[in-house]
């Protein structure tokens, strides 16, 4: 019998769901509201030098990659299965659009992190 690839997508969904449930709201607060508005954190915390220093360090690279990639795979899997509830049934097109976006995003994140050096 051919092995199903479903557990891989499900594991990525679960890992991304857990990570976003644990720290997602705080990350949105930090990068989307607190730092841009200077509430609790200085506006300079998102300066080019700071961002570059984080993205050039290995812990920083890992953190950025894990957040971007797992969030994308979590959302892709959930949206793919919810499309079914709207009458768009699991076909190759829906699968390619959802998981394809996550895959392209993951590869783009890797390329950017490599380019940053």
């Amino acid at each position: 019998m051919k092995r199903s690839n479903a557990p891989i997508f499900w594991a990525l969904f679960g890992a991304g769901g857990m990570l976003s449930a644990l720290v997602g709201a705080m990350l949105v607060w930090i990068t989307g509201l607190a730092a841009p508005l200077g509430i609790g954190l200085s506006k300079a915390s998102l300066s080019h030098a700071n961002a570059l220093a984080v993205a050039q360090s290995w812990p920083g690279k890992l953190a950025i990659f894990v957040v971007v990639a797992l969030f994308l795979w979590h959302a892709a899997h959930r949206i793919f299965h919810t499309l079914h509830d709207f009458g768009i049934h699991a076909g190759m097109v829906a699968k390619l659009l959802c998981y394809g976006t996550a895959m392209v995003g993951t590869l783009a994140a890797i390329a950017a992190l490599v380019a940053i050096g």
Binding site: G32, L41, A75, A112
Partner: protein, 132 residues
């Protein structure tokens, strides 16, 4: 197409008839917030790779009113995702036994929410130390 033209029950709006499924759609809908936020971060990462001018452009976009409003909405989506994720968790985990008896669902939910608070506090402390 299919020559038999079999009857298909229409699916539009089925979930609006039952509050349970309305909640289901809202918690599934948090995936849109997660996707949007990941794409915002990815755009920032690509801008960072392209150089300081691109980064500054991304940063001023983040400081624009539409993006601030978007992040307010995303924040609500994420908070709801955290809440519902740990409320569903007792049903998605295999039974956990401690001392021969099954751990109650409410305990798992509370432990999950406590872990989220702790992890978020840690993230904030690390970020505040890195970039005060």
């Amino acid at each position: 197409m299919n020559a038999r033209r079999p009857y298909r029950r229409p699916m539009t709006g089925w979930w609006r008839k039952n509050p349970y499924f309305v909640e289901y759609m809202i918690h599934e809908g948090t995936a849109l917030a997660v996707a949007a936020y990941a794409l915002v971060l990815l755009a920032g990462l690509i801008a960072l790779a392209r150089g300081e001018a691109a980064w500054t452009a991304w940063l001023s976009l983040l400081q624009s009113a539409p993006m601030l409003i978007l992040h307010g909405v995303l924040l609500l989506g994420f908070v709801y995702h955290t809440w519902t994720w740990f409320h569903i968790m007792p049903r998605t985990l295999p039974p956990i036994l401690i001392g021969g008896s099954r751990v109650a669902g409410s305990t798992i939910t509370r432990a999950g929410l406590a872990a989220a608070l702790l992890a978020s506090a840690l993230v904030y402390i690390v970020v505040a130390r890195l970039a005060p």
